[in-house]
Amino acid sequence: MKRFSGEVLFLDRNDINTDEIIPAKYLTEITREILGSHLLEDLVLEGFDPAVDIDGKGVIVSRDNFGCGSSREHAPWAIEARGINIVIATSFSRIFRQNMLNCGMLAVEVSPEECEYLFSHFSDKRVNLKTNADTLNFIFSTDTEEVEIPFYLTQFEKDLIKVGGWVEYADAAY
């Protein structure tokens, strides 16, 4: 099972699409490392600089409809290649969310209220997330503050994460 903890990258925008996550011109790359080097390259977001803001992060927190657009699984691959295994948002596009789970990564929904709390309290600070994938708990912490947010995964989703992805699961089951 992957590690779902680390420092948080806040992306404060709705509808971040998979072309912004990894532009189509890189879909000819087969090596994951090269994909990762272009992560979020075209994302225009005030205060965000892909050249410096991604390194060292282990978690993305965003808003509505994250991962909309193309079905490219290169989007989760590029995210994973940069050491990030979990995205937290108020909602995801269906295909992106399924692709994340299929890769043994986490795409987890939190409520708009919880999301707003995270952005308003933490987005200008260095925040660490510790994820307990057994008790289904997020612990966000800074030097001075800590907040615990429970999250939900179905049994099937938990099984996918534990076994490492959909190929492993389906190969055993069907």
């Binding site: 189509a24 995801f92 269906r94 692709n99």
Partner: protein
């Protein structure tokens, strides 16, 4: 209680239900192209599982960049080609026979009402126009589909879109779907299937229905479904005539997948087609639409007519009608990419290609190309394109470029005028 088309298809294809609301479905078809399939092929090889569940159910094509533009895209084509050959996948469309997948595969008769279809491409929803459950997936889902012939889905609810009346002259299926997306929003149908109903849909050709279903994913929908009817039977008849003694028999069989009158929907949205006007997007999301009449003079550099949304023969005919006897503005470059070789051939026979060329268009081979900024008309930074494609994301057709989505008629008119305009002045 009655069922929706999606519920009927889920029920008849269920292999397993790992938990409430999540179903493993057997697949009637797995479609493949050269961008998302190589990852699956290489992973299967690495796992020592280089096999396919059923070569007759797999259809493959090189379409996104064709012919290959560099060694990397050539290698992607080679991986797909070699794989299709060694697994005896008969329906592999290589350079010369290839076209844009979601135009080519319906044209070849590969889609049926009630089918389950996946592809590593978000616009797979196009095939819902035939009353199929057709959904885009990622490479891992595709890999398991290839190996096991199954895919897992959370059962979607269905949002009914009822469109009454009729579309006014100069207003087309593309304007209607842009209107719908503008109404429900880019995330408005997430985890839902859109069902298109009403006089307007009933009157549409399969090509127009495919334009509607194609963009269902731009509202977040899992698929976009039209009810199978006589129009569906007529389109498919060349391919099914040995399966049924009469078209009526086929109609009755396909009718099993029509939604029941008492089916339950998550939402029902009714629209008056007479309120739809020629539209264009104006920002970086497909739900940012406004009437073309409301655009201030917006100069454009390129007009692109093609794609799985609007590259079919009907689209070329409409655009050619606007262009006939005229020349595009000297400040504009026009690019036409007929979506399949058959569309191209028929357009040649009908004199349409000559109309485009006389107007000043560059006519290319069938390919996805510029739609996603990979080839065949990529924009320079600062350039603006009026396009019949399906996405206007920032940088989609080229870094720093701007895309305005519209119908083929509006795109042709825009090419003539040199700025965004609808086809009213040029109709008749």
């Amino acid at each position: 209680m009655g069922q929706t088309t999606a519920q009927k298809i889920f029920q008849s294809h269920q292999v397993d239900q790992p938990e409430p609301g999540r179903y493993v479905l057997k697949l009637d078809a797995v479609f493949c192209h050269e961008i998302t399939t190589p990852g699956a092929i290489l992973d299967l090889e690495a796992r020592n599982k280089d096999r396919v569940f059923d070569p007759s159910k797999i259809k493959a094509v090189i379409d996104h960049v064709s012919p290959a533009k560099d060694s990397k895209t050539a290698m992607q084509g080679k991986i797909l080609r070699d794989w299709a050959r060694r697994h005896r996948i008969k329906n592999f469309f290589d350079v010369g026979r290839n076209g844009v997948c979601h135009a080519l595969f319906p044209e070849k008769g590969f889609v049926r009402p009630g089918f389950t279809i996946i592809m590593g491409d978000s616009h797979t929803c196009t095939h819902g126009a035939f009353g199929a459950f057709a959904a885009g997936v990622g490479t891992t889902d595709l890999e398991v589909g290839i190996l096991k012939g199954v895919c897992v889905f959370r059962e979607p609810s269905t949002m009914k879109i009822e469109v009454q009346g009729e579309l006014k002259p100069g207003v087309y299926a593309k304007d209607l779907i842009l209107h719908i997306i503008g109404t429900i929003g880019v995330g408005g149908a997430t985890d839902k299937v859109l069902e298109f109903h009403g006089d307007v849909i009933d009157a549409m050709t399969m090509e127009s229905r495919m334009t509607l279903s194609n963009m269902a994913v731009e509202a977040g929908a899992t698929s976009g479904i039209c009810m199978p009817d006589r129009t569906t039977v007529e389109y498919l008849w060349p391919f099914i005539k040995s399966d049924y003694s009469t078209p009526e028999e086929a109609l009755e069989d396909f009718g099993r997948y029509r939604s029941d009158p008492d089916a339950e929907y998550s939402d029902v949205i009714t629209m008056d087609a007479r309120e739809v006007v020629p539209l264009s997007t104006f920002g970086y999301k497909p739900d940012q639409v406004k009437p073309i009449a409301d655009f201030p003079e917006t100069r454009i550099d390129q007009v692109y007519i093609g794609s799985c949304t609007n590259g079919r023969l009907e689209d070329l005919r409409v655009a050619a009608h606007v262009l006939k006897g005229r020349r595009i503005a000297s400040t504009v470059r026009g690019i036409l990419s007929p979506a399949t070789p058959e569309v191209y051939r028929q357009a040649l026979k009908e004199g349409l290609i000559e109309i485009f060329m006389d107007a000043g268009f560059c006519v290319t081979n069938p390919t996805c190309g510029a739609c996603l900024g990979m080839s065949n008309g990529v924009l320079a930074e600062g350039e603006v394109c009026a396009s019949t494609t399906n996405r206007n994301f920032n940088g989609r057709m080229g870094k720093g470029g701007m895309v305005h989505l519209m119908s083929p008629a509006s795109a042709a008119a825009t090419a003539l005028a040199g700025h965004i305009t609808n086809s009213f002045l040029y109709a008749g």
